[in-house]
Symmetry: D2
Subunit: 320 residues, 4 copies
Amino acid sequence: MKKIRVGIVGGAGYTAGELLRILVFHPFVEIVFVHSKSNAGKFIYEVHDDLLGDTDLLFSSEYHTDIDVVFLCVSHGEAKNIVDIFKHTKIIDLSHDHRLKYPSHQFVYGLPELQKDVIRQAQYIANPGCFATAIQLALLPLAEKQLLKGNIQAFCTTGSTGAGQSLSETSHFSWRQNNLSVYKAFTHQHLGEIRQSVHQLQNTYEEEIQIIPQRGAFTRGIMACLTMNLKLAFEEIQNIYTHKYQDEPFVWISERNIHLKQVINTNKCLLYIEKHENNLLITSIIDNLLKGASGQAVQNMNLMFGLDETTGLKLKSTAF
Amino acid sequence: MKKIRVGIVGGAGYTAGELLRILVFHPFVEIVFVHSKSNAGKFIYEVHDDLLGDTDLLFSSEYHTDIDVVFLCVSHGEAKNIVDIFKHTKIIDLSHDHRLKYPSHQFVYGLPELQKDVIRQAQYIANPGCFATAIQLALLPLAEKQLLKGNIQAFCTTGSTGAGQSLSETSHFSWRQNNLSVYKAFTHQHLGEIRQSVHQLQNTYEEEIQIIPQRGAFTRGIMACLTMNLKLAFEEIQNIYTHKYQDEPFVWISERNIHLKQVINTNKCLLYIEKHENNLLITSIIDNLLKGASGQAVQNMNLMFGLDETTGLKLKSTAF
Amino acid sequence: MKKIRVGIVGGAGYTAGELLRILVFHPFVEIVFVHSKSNAGKFIYEVHDDLLGDTDLLFSSEYHTDIDVVFLCVSHGEAKNIVDIFKHTKIIDLSHDHRLKYPSHQFVYGLPELQKDVIRQAQYIANPGCFATAIQLALLPLAEKQLLKGNIQAFCTTGSTGAGQSLSETSHFSWRQNNLSVYKAFTHQHLGEIRQSVHQLQNTYEEEIQIIPQRGAFTRGIMACLTMNLKLAFEEIQNIYTHKYQDEPFVWISERNIHLKQVINTNKCLLYIEKHENNLLITSIIDNLLKGASGQAVQNMNLMFGLDETTGLKLKSTAF
Amino acid sequence: MKKIRVGIVGGAGYTAGELLRILVFHPFVEIVFVHSKSNAGKFIYEVHDDLLGDTDLLFSSEYHTDIDVVFLCVSHGEAKNIVDIFKHTKIIDLSHDHRLKYPSHQFVYGLPELQKDVIRQAQYIANPGCFATAIQLALLPLAEKQLLKGNIQAFCTTGSTGAGQSLSETSHFSWRQNNLSVYKAFTHQHLGEIRQSVHQLQNTYEEEIQIIPQRGAFTRGIMACLTMNLKLAFEEIQNIYTHKYQDEPFVWISERNIHLKQVINTNKCLLYIEKHENNLLITSIIDNLLKGASGQAVQNMNLMFGLDETTGLKLKSTAF
């Protein structure tokens, strides 16, 4: 097969690093350029230093447009300023600039479990946010069956890589180790894309989705715990989830309680469903940098180029 | 002042160790015996090895009853079997055996912020559970004002010391480091004592308190995040909390968001209140081994013996 | 290519789990059986729960001998009792039972960078220890040139997975988190195999190799810091190492200082060389479960079956 | 007793925070001012937020000289520029500006176990470095007996707080969690003060002290592992250490192996001595912010003002 010619913009950040870790071993990809103005001329492994021995690529100061697809790994707000440069290639935008549908752009929301066929045909993909991915995968089966009703609480805890590599008090090891804190309660910026997808499936749902995000003392992963009131019998709920995801290669319903490290360094999402009287708890876990960012971006690329969506994504879990 | 003669039963566990760390420096305490059948004859510091240099006490194989107060640090279920031995002294039971009121016993629930005067007069104290302490301190001000209404969600994350020193898969470092998991969703055993105290203040409250406990990748501390619907204005809520705790030496309302390590190695509880529309979030943090166990036990002892309740409890925070 | 039929004995432990994580995605392997008496009949993913979604294999209570190669992942001391069962297949023994040469067995020491051609021809392989791998890769280039002289200090720090999954005080999260301790100073059991390899290359070296192992507050990886006195110029030393490893796919000399997470979840070893006057420091890092155990075992298997030695071992680093 | 009037300069950093945590509970101290230009007017607890509830002090923009002692917690290089302001009070300088003896200043090196009587009479104290404290306490007993001979290796691992609160790549949680790395091998800046003290006791010792510092994945503490060749019998060595430290309240010789968390949040140093043939290993542990900085500063203050040197320093260990 002819290789897919790939460009990466914003090559020095966490999501670009993670993308490179996947793409250097992807059998059908040729990395044409990795753009980073501030690192131009350096070896990739001088910034993403675990890649020493895996690639001799250099950062580039220039964009190339003779490519098949570009991954935009730039900051939120920056992506929309450079899409025009790549308008003739496929684009996968990892920022949140194009996740909400607006007449002003033609990006498709890239959550494969929501709309795989649409993604296959798309030229431009807006890659979902990490919290949004974990929460949506927990909600979509019920929304599809028009079963959401009443308020939903989503207590979510994220690893430190979710905040990117910029230095701040809450990313300081001395602060974060052994610690826990809440931030942006009820106001997390991923709420919009979550509601958009829920409405796409169940347009009558107007209640609140209350997200309480926490900073966890771990580096990778998101655990989202969703509670809601639902009368439906446990077995029926379990069936709905099993049925919804039976052909999905990355989403699995666990019959036993789950823990975050089951998915770390993989593109998987695991779900666990519990019910006590009418109280439903759905626990959803992903690796925020993979299924929550760069892994999902590659999954989208695979779909857009007609590949098996798991290509290059059968990743060895870290487990410990 | 004449020293309080203290005995400790179950001296090898985490709560006894923590009690010893406080009591060896308590100005008005003489430790008469520390009972541990399996460690009898050993130095205390052979088990609680950070106490090397602080005490030359030995573990004892025998109980002494010529004491003023005994702390029961034995397993749940064991305490009730040995209370008779110490019936003529004061007893502070750290297990959950006597937390619920029953005609069969005369223990008083030892949450100072609930009923300080009752504790001062009590002979037998049932020391509250750690989750129960964090959650109750967040709820009591509203319950006192008859303001609880509708279901309450309590997402709580606990450090590994909450599970004691016994070895299990989920206490293994290789498992727990960088990890997160839910357990006992909706069914945590502290629910009973929480409801008992809430009813004591607001006997009309019959809705659900839904506790979702999580195992965090840290050693000490509990963070409880309580959400509920409440129409009352933020300022009024803030006033109620400030007023309730204005004379309490260990409970503080923070005006800025809080993080767990603010209370680690102290007997304090910090509360932070947020409101978005009618959604109220109360975050409550304690050190599970101190305000959640041994620190509160010493606070109760201080009250029972007419001391300032902070005696021996002005503890240097670890901070990092 | 016809698939290699593989059996695994001792399937429930850490090294077997790690082997399975590699082999389920290895393009030329068919896993015939995974033996674990205590788990027979269970799904693999019930024990190695991150494998949910990756394999539907079950643990087996029986050995099969109609295989091409067996991996022995049993405890030290147990392997030598079962080798006879598999004497007609190839054997890769991950225990330390056959690492030292004795007339009583025909195992070949499986450190590819020491004797790749011998491994290619071997029927039975003794897979090196984790400390031994990290230390040898730092010493072999000098030994090969007959340059070792005087005592060598090897300060090594290992992650918790190095001690396996058995529960002990020092593997308890409450103990190990934020902690550090020395064990087996000067007496670590890997010293024998290290000396054996050093002698194989430089049989005149009779000085001491002083290993000081430490338990680190991390889960995966070994960092070995070797110091010795050496008059040779830095550039010459650097050349010797570069030359020695120039064709090795898994050993890399870094020109900048290194940190442990550069190799975590990979089969790589990174080396960094520093010299101050005549004091030489060689820092060597590996993932103890991969290049230090199961990854190296698969590397040996690849060599024994004529495959590219990196097959199935181009592993995405965790990085964070 | 009349309270000691204390000033603190550089009040926003880690060592000042730690000093405040001790001094707010010190029975004979009145904190007169805490200087921090950038935080002037803020409450102390807005920066050191674990102090909420413990003090209502504000940061000051001005120095006061009507005090008994000032603690200089400013950066290395800054202290020497402000000592003149406080020349009429006692000064305890926590920076490294005055640790080396020069004719240009009259500071006394404040390691109580080296020269307690000199400290009692001193007006100006240079508080030792953290690595320097851990290493010296391991070496002084032998130096005092003129027993040091041959090179000494000192492998040391430090917690993240040792690098202060400034943000850098190696202090980022995503980088440091689960990680380990070497820095400043053979060249650590504390070598000078170590050699100075060693020479003070054994002026014939001219061999190398080789320090290999490592960044550990923990927040507090230093473990120093010193190896050297020594013919003296183990019992004699043990006696020398026991004798040297028998009246010291903060230094203890452990008869069992030690681990870092035994001293965390205390002012103690624990030593453990092992010998294998002629190879001696001395392991030394301290809390870098206490015995390695602010705790030792208060110990020096206590000595300078004729107090029991443990006053305010009987600190509850964190233990976990």
